[in-house]
């Protein structure tokens, strides 16, 4: 999550790349109950106080530059499936649906900057999908 637009970005909250630069990109293990997917068409992701870093902008994040300790909490919801969305190559196969999605989140960094988004209903999604995937050895 980050504060747009990229040309004037002030904050970029993410977990960093585990083993920069070729490792796991911006993911963090969570408890199974924090991510719920129902009937392969709706989903939710709710995490409180996830430790992340504030890289301040995307380019600095991609270069693993200076960061500050930070924390974010977020609630993301996927719903209102509109159409099938399937994609595949020799490496992966995804079968699911395109949906709408909303987010409400808050964050703060070690410098005392705090942010709280407006209610989830005011957020907008430009692209959202939910589905099942197999890749790599499971492809």
């Amino acid at each position: 999550v980050g504060l747009d637009d990229p040309a004037h970005q002030l904050h970029d909250f993410n977990p960093g790349i585990n083993r920069f630069p070729s490792g796991l990109f911006w993911i963090k293990a969570i408890r199974p109950d924090q991510a719920r997917v129902a009937d392969d068409q709706t989903a939710s992701l709710h995490v409180d106080d996830m430790d992340v870093e504030d890289y301040h902008d995307l380019i600095n994040a991609l270069l693993d530059g200076h960061e500050q300790d930070a924390s974010v909490s977020f609630d993301v919801r996927w719903s209102d499936a509109t159409s099938a969305f399937n994609s595949s190559t020799s490496d992966f196969a995804f079968e699911g649906v395109q949906t709408a999605a909303t987010i409400e989140w808050s964050g703060h960094n070690a410098s005392g900057f705090t942010f709280h988004s407006n209610p989830a209903s005011t957020s907008k999604s430009s692209f959202a999908i939910v589905g099942r995937e197999r890749n790599g050895v499971f492809r």
Binding site: R19, L45, L63
Partner: protein, 99 residues
């Protein structure tokens, strides 16, 4: 961003990054952006050797800082929940958030 493939760093007990991704600033990043995923030819996952449920959402909105100043934000948020094989071939149940 160009789609390429490059060997990822293997780690026992942990998921392995997808082989695909993009090259930028002299580095190779094992992830595809939402616009690339939308083409239906790029993996929405960050983890390879995975089977399970995946959700991705590319979102925008507004909010306020502690002083009451309004900012725009963008968020690419994803769920990966299922079974993955680590670099030794062992299978693990796991749930991950892409933030």
């Amino acid at each position: 961003m160009p789609q390429m493939a490059q060997a990822a760093v293997p780690t026992a007990g942990l998921p392995t990054p997808i082989p695909g991704g993009f090259h930028l600033f002299g580095n190779f990043y094992h992830i595809f952006t939402p616009p690339a995923v939308k083409t239906a030819s790029a993996d929405p996952n960050a983890i390879t050797d995975f089977k399970g449920v995946v959700a991705l959402a590319d979102m925008t909105g507004q909010g306020k800082d502690g002083a009451g100043t309004t900012f725009d934000f963008g968020a690419d948020m994803r769920i990966y929940k299922g079974v993955f094989a680590d670099s030794t071939g062992h299978h693990h149940d796991g749930a991950f958030a892409f933030v």
